[in-house]
Amino acid sequence: MSAPKEFTCAADDWARASKEIYQRMALSIEAEQVRSLMFLDTFDWRLYRAGYVLAHVDDTLELSDRETGTVVARAAAHNGTAMNGELPGKLRGRLAGVLGLRALAAVASVDSSSVVLAARNDDAKTVARLVLSDSRVDHGGRRATLKYRLSVVPLRGYDRHASRLSEELAGTAGVEPISSSLFEEAVAATGRRPGDYTSKLSLDLNRDVSTYDAARLIYRTLLQVMNANRAGVVQELDTEYLHDFRVAVRRTRSALKELAGSLPAELENRFRDEFRWLGQATTPTRDLDVCLLEFPAFRQRVGVSSGDLDPLHALVSDEKRRAHARLRTELRSTRYQRLCKEWSRAVDAEAPSTGVGPVGTTSIGELADARIRRVARHVLRDGSRIDDASPAESLHDLRKRCKELRYLLEFFSSLYEPKLHRSLLVELKALQLNLGQFQDTQVQRHALEEYAERLLEAKKTPAAALLAIGRLVAVLEDQQRTARTEFADRFSEFAGAKNRSRLSALTEARP
């Protein structure tokens, strides 16, 4: 096992221990630094999960390996570049796949005073470094002092010297190894924990819990997701805050339908209306976000001069700004605040403000089995009725049924045999993808036709712009036809004997 590299010591011992180390190990002072350092990550910790730590130090962005602390990429950056989504080329290429649509934001800001001490050999070559640092975290105007930190920095090709330095430190009175990195400690000082947010739902239930308790746990978890994302939606940091917010609203609405009777009917009815309102309030902004995100693909598909779609882009961007301003107003409204407050009280873990509904005492295992079976039956029935002559609405309705089934499977994943559950989800996702492609192209086509009308009315729009939209609509029609043709195969795979037996085995199999 390699020797620890990070140590700490109590404030009272700091002066004595540093002096002792400095003298005993014959180190020389290489630099004294006062540095401001900002750790960056996405809201859902994509860099952390991928094993990276990204820090903005002075004018440089440093990407390090989370485990070893080795800098894997370094790039010059001006203030705020990373947070404006403008990562320097080298880092952008490396991280594009990890970040996806998510923006970087500061997760902790640290001010450090450090002394860099060098251990040198007979040629006066530095063979290891020891950095003594005293750091503070600034969080919402409050300052938290972090532990004194003594970090051994090994140099490639001179590992032996670093190990020796670590051993000496371990033998110094008052100096202790520390397991958390500066990044982890700084994040903890802000009240967060790396990895504390994920858009994936992970509920730990067991079959004997009452439906009343299980439903409240589901509702509370989803409300936490909404609360966590609200600020990002309002500030429009990236499109995924709204995406996650909407999914939480949709899941809540789906649970209110499928777990109806867990809470008193009057309360459920009221919140069904409230969450419908909230869902509808977010729809225009999300549709426009999707349209704007599709633009690079649109430009590729029409295969014309990319400038031809600029008038359309300007119109959609303008619409989006307005829609977002309306959404912001709704999320700051008394109605929204009341919804959150009252819903939170109704589904409270300890002292809910409401009583048990008619099915609240049923065990969740029993109810989950019944609901999954029922919704799956509906999916199979509705899907089998769709043929080439069926209207687009029937595919849209089937898509909604599939989402309900998906949400049920996600709420109750902890109740089922994991392998079986996973296989079912894979099949369901494939069907959903096909239905999603059909529906999305349908929505986009209609939106584009409407925008074309408006651009035409504006009179100043160049003909090339309208022609480009026309070509795009034709491409989308083609894609929609393909999705429609593929539907039959997709559905028969989902409705095949193998998957049907999975469905029935799932609600009988026990983990």
Binding site: V71, P88, A118, K125, R156
Partner: protein, 255 residues
């Protein structure tokens, strides 16, 4: 990963000084940089205060018997590492000649380093030999220091001919004026009379300066020991041109 080689048939023209200063500037800009000191005289290794010795000798390294990773040493500068010289490099021609594809062996050895480094700087021994052919195959940019004399320009043109005649991959060859003495009329005349359309001669020129000569004493790049000096400014301008030649203008890091 991109590779630049400071190369000249002649010795004492400022190859090592250029290699060290450019490597330092690259690392300061955020490029993870490795200098490979291929010269058995080990000047670059000495300047970085590293011992000029490879465990097992150069032969094991060149033949791929010893992992190149294990021979790399960190310098005192962040982001800048060194693959030290070894006295056995004086026989490198023979070592390479034994390999399967003797002219491609150095390039092959460098390949696995592409995960760890953005830039490799080869500080080459003065010669024209099998080692040089390997360098031509491995480098993206061949950077040639020229003392402004008629003969050195003629030699540079000969080198361009040699590179143009190579099979397959050919490096981009650029020269820069080195050890320029402002008091010498010949230097001024040569630089003034140079055809303006010669894009293979870079604009930056490095003066003959005391601080470059003092590198042997300070054992630091002049951009560290005397950052405001004329030589440091010249290397900074030279790095900007090399950066653009290697990575494209405006790419990656800003100076």
């Amino acid at each position: 990963m991109r590779t630049v080689a400071t190369y000249s048939i002649k010795g004492g023209v400022g190859k090592t000084s250029a290699a060290l200063n450019l490597a330092y500037l690259a690392a300061r800009d955020g490029q993870r940089t490795l200098v490979w000191d291929l010269d058995p005289q080990a000047a670059a290794t000495f300047l970085f205060r590293v011992r000029p010795r490879i465990k097992g000798g150069g032969k094991a390294l060149v033949r791929g018997k010893r992992d190149i990773d294990d021979a790399i040493k960190a310098t005192d500068f962040p982001g800048l590492d060194l693959l030290p010289a070894d006295f056995s490099y004086r026989h490198m021609d023979l070592m390479l000649d034994d390999a399967k594809r003797p002219t491609r062996q150095l390039g092959k050895l460098l390949k696995p380093l592409s995960l760890d480094y953005d830039l490799v700087v080869l500080d080459c021994p003065p010669s024209i030999s099998l080692v040089s052919e390997n360098i031509f195959q491995a480098a993206d940019l061949l950077l040639v220091p020229l003392i402004p004399t008629t003969l050195s320009l003629r030699t540079f043109d000969q080198l361009l001919g040699v590179v143009a005649a190579l099979d397959g991959r050919r490096p981009d060859v650029r020269a820069f004026f080195s050890m320029v003495d402002g008091r010498k009329r010949l230097h001024a005349d040569i630089m003034r009379d140079l055809p303006h359309n010669r894009s293979d001669i870079l604009k930056a020129s490095v003066p003959s300066a005391t601080d470059v000569e003092r590198m042997g004493l300070t054992r630091q790049p002049v951009v560290v020991s005397n950052p405001g000096g004329r030589a440091a400014q010249a290397y900074t301008a030279l790095w900007q041109e090399c950066h653009d030649a290697l990575f494209g203008p405006g790419a990656g890091t800003a100076p």
